[in-house]
Amino acid sequence: MSVHVSDTSVVRGACPHDCPDTCAFLYHVEDGKLVEVTGDPDHPMTRGGLCVKLKNFAEHHYNPDRLLYPMKRVGAKGSGQFERISWDEALAEIKSRWTDIIDEFGAQAIMPHVYLGHQGTLNGLTSGDAFFNRLGSSVAEKTYCESGSSTAWIMTVGPTGGLDLESLAYSKYIIVWGMNMTSTNLHAWPFVLEAKKKGAKVVVIDPVRTRTAKQADWHIPIKPGTDAALALGMMNIIIAEDLYDHDYVEQYTLGFEELKDRAAEYPPEKVSAITGIPVADILTLAREYAATQPSAIRQGVALERSRGGGQAIRAITCLPALTGAWRHVGGGAVEMPIWEFPTKFDAICRPDWIKPGTRVVNELDLGAALTGELDLDPPIKSLFVYNSNPVSQAPDQAKIIAGLQREDLFTVASELFISDTARYADILLPATMQAEQYDLMVTWGHLYMTLNQPAIEAPGECVPNVEMFRRLAKTMGFDDPYWDRTDEEMLQDFYDWDAPQLQGITLEKLKEKGYMRLNVGDADKRAPHAEGNFKTPSGKCEFKASAAADGNFVVPVWRSMYEGEQSGEPVDPLPDYLPPFESPHSNPELAARYPLNIVSPKPHAFLNTQYGNETVQQRRQGEQVVLLHPDDAAGRGIEAGSYVRVFNDRGHFEGRAELTDDMMPGLVMANVGYWPSLTRTGTSVNAISSGKHCSLGQAGTYCDNLVEVARV
């Protein structure tokens, strides 16, 4: 809770969460106890405030349900019956089981499973990559979020940070495309408001009239998974009406003639039929966007969550080069600025330890991998889960649970709590929470290096992931100096501190200041692509992408920096619209049984599943709600407040119906993040999610699912 803080000692920290904002923290400590966590008032984005998710962050550290000691399973799988053991016993058991598995099946029978439950350099997404590469496990492809966007962005403009969110203050026309910013990118919203005060128009394109859409000047509802068609339709108008920047296109882009032909296939009437947006609105949007400079697009990750999501990001990312928006401060597009940081991912992940030909297993295929539906040889015999909770967050929930119940599967989970995934583990390892550990945060929404310093002692026998992997490495007999380094030495080795972006920035200074901005130009002057300078092979914005020649790929950072075994399916070098796998329009046969499309965006008060077990946050988030348009409810006998069952062939979950014209007819919405074990049915929204991947970068298709809804 936010109390009025009195005199306490203050330690500088940083938010650990998978959110673009990476807020700078002030930990308030009294007699060795964390009493409050507040936002740093001096940080240009944090501005002294955190968010609803972090409101009870100090108390969260003292939650009585925290996992404090290593445990071993003593009941049936999933029974939740565990007994305390020592770290030595836990490590010895892991070594013994893994040695047997490696002897019989080979190390590739072991699969790590990790995502961004923590966003640090030492303890986050890539914290175990070196260990598992050294072990010779299967390489886990971590494409829960952003992978489709990364592939598409890099194909189009290369690994550039793009537009700084702080520069939105200087935009005159802002399109927030597929993102509920006031829930999921809150600390960038004041820059949008600042632009608005100066006369900018704010447009939100989203299937749902979200709390962000309600604050915009114009909300354009769009059918889910059809964003590429809208972007191509905008190009069609911009080119046909000669609203594009000839000189910019000539000098700094590649493949304009081909793009022009492609866009010609998307006249407004056709786009209107696909997207559900009136022709007049498509015309107005295209004309205003092109004519009002500087124009900015804030791309949401939601765009990638359908079959053609990657191509949608490709198409949208072409727009600012077509209009020359990049010429201006405040013009261009925001995807994620992570590429501006000189992080040495090879030094972190050690892909040189991966034996050529090592197989890749995608994490979104976990259920299929564990149940044998994927024909894997050797089969997965051990799963090591950290920084993630696939039972709630991955698609095909029922299959994952069936797989985790396999008696011959040896599962280890490192966790803060006994999550719905950890519940199925054979061995549990206790992890530290953010105020108890040291880390330099990875950031995907701003341009600051932010250091988290420990403020309190770790409780029980909790250890940071980085220490857990040191222990595992020693246990497995790895004598590489990689694991002999301190946290500090690792951070020195994991960044290129001599890079121009880090000039004047050191760990020592970060300890004092907490955060420092990269030397990439100030927000009121920065226009990174005013003169092209794209990070593609041609140095231009590639409407026609040269990277398509090698077929589909996942950006290496999402796969332990492994370059091998990319899926390589053919990829259209030009952006195009690919209809969803599941929609009434594209799949009428399936829609005859399951006529409603569902989207499952992030919750407001939980961070994915984190805080889903906190009583206070449960009250703030409320129980699982299913949003429906009144027309869809009427024919089904559903009234506001009635409990409904949402289902398809993959599974079901239940929620309380809320009827609102914030939804378009034919669309259902239910937030992800609820712990299945805490719901009425023991399932949550990902019970109905398809395991299919987006056409670029293997992203999930969480917003490309058909369901039926019935009153319970």
Binding site: M1, S2, L186, Q215, R620
Partner: protein, 101 residues
């Protein structure tokens, strides 16, 4: 559930809250500020900013403040948004002293 401004704001209207609010959910009349419950995103940044502790999270407040939920909603709906900090009311210093802050 949103946040609310309670009686301590009356005759003060320091508006430090407005400066830290990321979504511009504060509205004001001549006497005090109010929070629009449909716009407030529950971040709580305004709570420690208020010099007279007038702001509460409705999930975590004494029972006596319950009537303020409706007052904030009703008044915010009819008053203009306050999007920048304003000078405190002339009575603010005395009122702050009276309130014991």
């Amino acid at each position: 559930m949103p946040h609310i401004v309670t009686d301590n704001c009356r005759l003060c209207r320091f508006t430090d809250c407005v400066e830290v609010c990321p979504v511009e959910c504060f509205h004001a009349d001549e006497e005090r500020t109010y929070i629009d419950p449909d716009v407030c995103i529950d971040c709580g940044a305004c709570i420690p900013a208020c010099p007279v502790r007038a702001i509460y999270d409705t999930e975590d407040m004494p029972e006596e403040f319950v009537p303020w939920i409706a007052i904030n909603a009703e008044r915010a709906a009819t008053l203009p948004v306050l999007s920048a900090r304003q000078p405190a009311l002339p009575t603010a210093a005395d009122r702050q002293k009276e309130l014991g802050f």
